[in-house]
């Protein structure tokens, strides 16, 4: 099993995972699962296939279902193909009070997709953001490919979206 996993995971991914594994006790390999999934997703164009999830499970010696649980729990992990750029608008309480819902409505209209979907050209994935992103004082805010944009207006949003290749 672990041999098959070695074949599925890239050398670089395995190297990254091994570095994380070194930080945990030898009988706690599952501790590296989040780091492993993050790395493997990054290499795979932003999403995790069942094959990759299984490979991570085998590599870490975890039951497959335990890896599926992790991958489906965290909103930053995707289990279906998604657009190249990820856009998540916070709709939690502070942002909501500052008009986040309008921003979401605007983006949905402009991109022609609902939250959770990706544009047909595979350019943008409009994520469903589950939680507060901890930039409440700058709400409404959104995160685009790990970068925070605060105090959003429709114009700023347009500029940011148009800048995504």
């Amino acid at each position: 099993m672990i041999e098959d996993a070695r074949k599925t995971l890239s050398k670089h991914a395995r190297h990254e995972i091994d570095q994380w594994l070194a930080k945990f006790p030898a009988d706690q390999r599952r501790s590296a699962v989040l780091a492993a999934l993050r790395e493997v997703q990054h290499e795979n164009g932003g999403w995790l296939s069942i094959e990759l999830l299984d490979a991570v499970a085998d590599y870490l010696g975890m039951p497959k279902i335990a890896v599926y649980e992790v991958a489906t729990f965290y909103s930053m992990l995707e289990t279906k193909p998604v657009g190249r750029h990820s856009v998540s608008v916070c709709t939690n309480i502070s942002c909501m009070l500052r008009g986040a819902d309008d921003i979401v409505a605007h983006i949905e209209k402009r991109l022609g997709v609902k939250t959770g979907g990706s544009t047909p050209d595979g350019r943008i994935h409009l994520k469903r953001e589950e939680e507060c992103l901890a930039a409440c004082c700058g709400g409404p805010m959104m995160m685009v490919d790990h970068i925070y944009h605060e105090n959003l207006t429709v114009d700023r949003v347009n500029a940011i979206l148009d800048g995504l290749k």
């Binding site: 069942i50 039951p63 279902i65 335990a66 599926y68 649980e69 489906t72 729990f73 589950e130």
Partner: protein, 790 residues
């Protein structure tokens, strides 16, 4: 009062408790009811449903009883206003997303949610919004899912991880989107999977074969004993309109705890297969026809009577070890009374050479519960996980506590706990592999055994030394022989060597046990050399191997399907076809029986008869019939009684099964099994067989006639698949790696069978499943075979 004991007060009553106990354990022990969904005494505490909230003095909020450790002087109120309000609120939340489909839910009437909703729910829902809907998953032929009903208690998930040792179900997604399932569609593979049906407090996981066939309140419940492995799990039959609707476990802490293997749970379906024998049948020159009992008995009197009278030694009697003790006792009493000593039940044996030294019955060597206390176990020639699932469960518990469990097998059977060592040995080399461990241990202990002649030419490998070192460690140890070990052509030598090893290690020596009543068959006298209770038989007789090899003029069979049940099926079929008269008492009719038998007498099976099984630890357990056998079929003990009368054998005219059981029990009274020294000592070990060899394992759902007919179980992977299982390396060596099919030759016979590549099978070994009548022509279950591309 030890200093572990503390006092708490619950609802004004002072209760004693042990330190470290959870509150709910204490209230349960004192019959104070606290509602719960996620808590289960056999599983870890998850505390995620919050149904068990109670008021604890000085605590600012209600606390979950399942996750609150007791403390001295604690004052608890389980039905105070605060507690009840908390419980009611939790109930309201749980019902928000639960469908109101009780009228079409199989759990209705035995649903913990329904019960608690009656007690704690409001009669009107304040929730007006849409309920969430969860798509059902197909998780195999045994467990039906209705996942919208799931309340996320995670009992099923914890069961997989903690008991089945196979994490198959999980909670994916989160919050509103959390779902229980396998995520990737697949069947549950655990041999204990059906237990999630009992664990699930709602109707999310129910029995697929039972689905929509009865309401719980229409059925009556009756106790019974599971009919497949030697554990003797306690069960309840649920019966409606004279039909067994389902089987569920009954609690028995020293046997099956609260669990049941899938085979024991779902095999009742075999009672209703359409090849049931429902009327006596006879064969004459016009072929087969159904007749009444008188005609059938007349034919027996006419055909079997004279042979039995004039040449009783030319008659053979074989009875399956799935028969009840009553049937076995009467069967042998009849034959012995007629002067015939050729009686056996050991259908899967190929080696009978040590039978005079054999124990009264090969037993576990310890109690079932004691397996949990082991520090070290060596299992030789067996796959307990599939063959004795609930013995394996005890071994697994020991392993999780740190016990070192080791296996010696010709194929590596997947285990659900980590093994401390695994030694692969070709079937013909198993004896020598164990002898190597024995020698290593003798050397380690500087024991004189090392110089005995049979160990002289035995080589020792490092792997064997490692196992020997584990066995040498202090602590409670055992050496256990499995089903495969019992069937080997050199089984007697293996019993000797394994016994020596156990002695040397100071370990208990045991047998994992084959069929439901193997122990009862030994004790009841269904062996040629001994009568009931293990007393020497009045006249010696032939063993099953000799009967098949030599052929007999007549045979009496009881619940035997030789093509699938015997380790030498071809010999058996030939012997039966050549006999002048074959009388077969059976519950089903087969094509093979149509060919060899002359009289077929329909008998009831399992739930259809009063009976007793003796389990592998020696416990006799009886049950009463709960349904009638179909058509003209009658309980076996009654048929045997009339048969004895017909054949002029006296002493079998019992009025009830209980009377038979009483006589059998009398014969067995005071008998203690002893495996030690119950072997034939060897001066030389048999030479190892070299070259390509066949081995046979019997998949759990092909093990006997009843389970082979249980429809849902036959859709699982654990049934005889008629394929040649061999490793890639072996396949490559014989040029069948890519051929898909291969021709296997054995004993002058050849069959073309599909190739199933499986690297768990050892070198030079072809594993073929037993319990499959279609492969009967292939000869005995073990021995050298040839292989070539098809």
């Amino acid at each position: 009062m030890t200093n572990d004991t503390i006092k708490i007060e619950v609802d004004g009553k002072v209760l004693e408790a042990r330190k470290g106990q959870m509150l709910i354990q204490v209230t349960d022990a004192h019959d104070i009811y606290v509602p719960r969904f996620c808590y289960h005494g056999k599983l870890s505490v998850a505390a995620n449903c919050r149904m068990c909230l109670v008021e604890v003095e000085k605590a600012p909020k209600p606390l979950p009883a399942c996750a609150t450790p007791v403390m001295d002087g604690m004052k608890v109120r389980t039905r105070s206003k605060l507690a009840l309000e908390a419980q009611k609120s939790v109930m309201e939340f749980l019902l928000i997303n639960h469908p109101l489909d009780c009228p079409i839910c199989d759990q209705g009437g035995e649903c913990e949610l329904q019960d608690l909703a009656m007690g704690y729910g409001r009669d009107v829902s304040r929730y007006q919004e849409n309920k969430r809907v969860v798509r059902d998953k197909d998780i195999g032929p045994l467990v039906q899912t209705d996942m919208t009903r799931c309340i996320h208690c995670t009992r099923c998930v914890r069961f997989g991880e903690e008991v089945a040792g196979l994490r198959e179900l999980g909670a994916t997604g989160r919050g509103e989107f959390m779902e229980i399932g396998t995520f990737v569609e697949q069947s549950m593979a655990s041999e204990l999977s059906g237990n999630v049906i009992d664990l699930c407090p709602v109707g999310a996981l129910t029995s697929k074969p039972f689905r929509y066939s009865a309401r719980t309140w229409e059925m009556s419940q009756h106790p019974g004993i599971a009919p497949h492995d030697g554990i003797g799990s306690n069960i309840h039959f649920h019966v409606k309109d004279g039909r067994v609707k389902r089987v569920v476990p009954a609690e028995n802490e020293v046997i099956n705890e609260v669990w049941l293997s899938d085979r024991d749970r779902f095999s009742y379906e075999g009672l209703y297969s359409n090849d049931r024998l429902t009327a006596p049948m006879i064969r004459d020159d016009k072929g087969w026809r159904e007749v009444d009992w008188e005609t059938a008995f007349a034919m027996v009197r006419e055909r079997l009577g004279p042979i039995l009278k004039s040449a009783p030694a030319s008659v053979g009697g074989v009875i399956a070890p799935t028969a009840t003790l009553e049937e076995i006792f009467l069967f042998q009493k009849l034959l012995r009374g007629a002067g015939c000593g050729n009686i056996d039940h050991r259908l899967r044996y190929l080696d009978f050479s040590d039978q005079d030294a054999a124990p009264v019955f090969p037993w576990l060597g310890q109690s079932i519960a004691e397996l949990e206390q082991l520090n070290c176990a060596l299992i030789i020639g067996g796959d307990p996980r599939k063959e004795q699932p609930l013995l394996n469960h005890r071994l697994r518990k020991a392993a999780l506590r740190g016990a070192r469990i080791m296996m010696v097998n010709p194929a590596s059977f997947p285990s659900n706990y980590p093994l401390a060592a695994e030694l692969s040995a070709a079937p013909g080399g198993l004896v020598r592999a164990v002898a190597g461990i024995c020698r290593a241990l003798a050397e380690l202990k500087s024991d004189t055994l090392a110089r005995e002649s049979w160990l002289e030419d035995v080589a020792v490998t490092d792997a064997q030394r490692r196992i020997a070192r584990e066995l040498a460690n202090p602590g409670r140890g055992t050496v256990l022989l499995g089903n495969l070990a019992a069937s080997l052509p050199d089984a007697a030598a293996l019993r000797f060597v394994a016994g020596q090893l156990a002695n040397l290690a100071g370990a208990a020596f045991g047998y994992l046990g084959e069929a439901a009543n193997s122990a009862g068959a030994w004790l009841g006298g269904a062996i040629p050399q001994r009568g009931p209770g293990g007393r020497p038989a009045s006249r010696s007789g032939m063993d099953a191997g000799a009967m098949a090899r030599n052929g007999m003029r007549a045979f009496m069979l009881y619940q035997v399907e030789p093509e699938a049940d015997c380790a030498a099926p071809d010999q058996w079929l030939t012997a039966l076809r050549n006999a002048e008269c074959v009388v077969s008492m059976n519950s089903w009719i087969t094509d093979a029986a149509r060919e060899y038998a002359h009289v077929l007498l329909p008998v009831g099976v399992f739930a259809e008869t009063d009976g007793t099984f003796v389990n592998v630890a020696g416990a006799p357990q009886s049950w009463r019939a709960v349904v009638d056998p179909p058509g003209e079929a009658r309980p076996g003990w009654k048929v045997l009684r009339v048969l004895a009368e017909t054949l002029g054998v006296s002493g079998c005219d019992y009025e009830t099964a209980k009377e038979v059981a009483r006589d059998a029990a009398q014969a067995m009274a005071g008998v203690r099994p002893e495996n030690r020294a119950a072997w034939r000592a060897l001066v030389r070990l048999p030479a190892a067989v070299a070259g390509l060899q066949r081995i046979t394992t019997v998949p759990m759902n092909s093990a006997d006639a009843l389970v082979r007919r249980a429809e849902a179980l036959q859709q699982t992977a654990d049934r005889a698949d008629g394929a040649l299982h061999l490793s890639r390396a072996t396949a490559a060596r014989f040029g069948v790696l890519d051929s898909g099919h291969a021709v296997v030759g054995h004993d002058g016979q050849a069959l073309t069978l599909p190739v199933a590549l499986d690297d768990a099978v050892g070198d030079d070994t072809v594993l073929i499943h037993g319990g499959n009548g279609l492969l009967a022509t292939l000869g005995p279950w073990f021995g050298r075979v040839t292989l070539k591309p098809a």
